[in-house]
Amino acid sequence: MASATNDPAPKAPIKRVAVGRRTLLGVTALGALGVVFGSSVQNFLGKAFGSGLGGLLPGGDRFRIYSITGAYPKIADRDYRLKVSGLVERPRTFTLEDLKAMPPTSFVKAFQCVTGWRVPEVHWAGVRLSDILDSVGVKPEAVALKFESYDRADTESLTIDQAHLPDVIVAYSMLGAPVTTEHGGPVRLYVAPMFGYKSLKWLSAIRVVNAVEPGFWEENGYPVNGWLDGTTGPANPDPSLT
């Protein structure tokens, strides 16, 4: 035991290295690089190795489940109703069966949240919003749509023109299966060209109105037109793209 200890320190000062500072600065720089280039690296890895790898990495390709109320409304398939009213020729309430009887549409598109997470290659299926509008007959004075949710808190808006885009759908299938409760099932909106907050969950009603009424998130400061490329609106979410 005693032999393990040496004599008191030599006179010459021991050379010391600021490992702490170096590590701190180095790793922080790495973090900053991750912020700036992380999404390109994720894209590259996703393309090179398929989306399977992204699922293995922490943080890659996964949904963050948001709910305004802190709870998920649970709606049985047979109880589901979508009420379409307002400035329409033939107001109508759709059941899930009614929606599934309409011409289906499906595609694979990413879900991009405004706060900065993204799930690429999500399979979506449902009915084009334009088909629903055509079936009820939108009156000429109509300007916009107001969407309501079973959660009684969330609302959304789209202009009639936006609603006619081919990748704006009333979705009953997502990720290759019926839309789950936490994803807004049995029926949710999916607005592909806009940020995720426009894709209202637990869709309960569509009112056709004569002016755009900002929805819940827009009342909380998000752009009314939540285009992914940030091309419109004074409250543009993406300064780099203006």
Partner: protein, 217 residues
């Protein structure tokens, strides 16, 4: 010499942490605990949302995150922070043998400083992740000011480091439970001279050279 000391070694106490350091450690630990506790339901939302109100979790996570650097900064900056600053220097500056020790994962001989290189690395990691998590977390909270690719990058970095922190914190707790004397000193401030002789020999020698009296800092 070694034999005559043996009797007194067991009873002589040495101050390892002063009150400020212990307060800073436990405040920091409490904040990390809150952050991890609230991160789990936020990250794995679908399992927990029914049990825990999400908004409350978000608010706790946000505020404890913003408070995270406070214990360390306050304990370092005040006139009360002398010991804290001195130990920061110990954690920062490494000798060649310490670097060798960490590179060989503890297989080379080392007369340990007040903190061994593993402990130093844990402290450095903690300081670093506070900066990174606070930075990326702020980007996610105030996302409007950042381009979308940066938001994605910040999410990625925040998540990756969250996993790393979880692993390191679990490791830290296991080490603390396995080294009870070390853990006790974080509560009481004291270690025995005997403990120091085996676990922090270089520090003990330094103290003896300086002629510090027993029970001194």
């Amino acid at each position: 010499m070694a034999i005559t000391q043996a009797n007194s070694l067991a009873v002589t106490r040495i101050r390892r942490f002063d009150r400020v350091q212990r307060a800073a450690h436990w405040a920091n630990a409490a904040l990390f605990g809150l952050l991890i506790f609230t991160a789990i339901p936020l990250y794995f939302g679908s399992f927990f949302s029914v049990v825990m109100p999400r908004h409350l979790m978000e608010m706790i996570h946000l505020w404890s995150g913003l408070a995270l650097p406070i214990p360390i900064i306050v304990s370092l900056l005040g006139p009360w922070g002398r010991q804290m600053r001195r130990d920061l220097g110990r954690i920062n500056y490494w000798t060649r043998s310490e670097i060798r020790w960490i590179k060989t994962l503890g297989k080379t001989p080392l007369e340990a400083d007040k903190f061994n290189p593993g402990q130093k690395l844990n402290s450095i990691f903690t300081g670093t992740v506070i900066i990174i998590m606070l930075g990326t977390g702020s980007m996610l909270q105030w996302f409007r000011f950042f381009p979308v690719p940066w938001r994605l990058g910040a999410t990625f970095v925040h998540d990756v480091f969250a996993f790393a922190i979880f692993a390191v914190v679990v490791g830290h707790i296991f080490m603390a439970l396995a080294h009870r004397d070390s853990l006790r000193s974080m509560f009481t401030g004291w270690v025995s001279e005997k403990w120091a002789a085996t676990n922090a020999a270089s520090w003990l020698k330094e103290k003896q050279l300086k002629g510090d009296s027993p029970n001194s800092r």
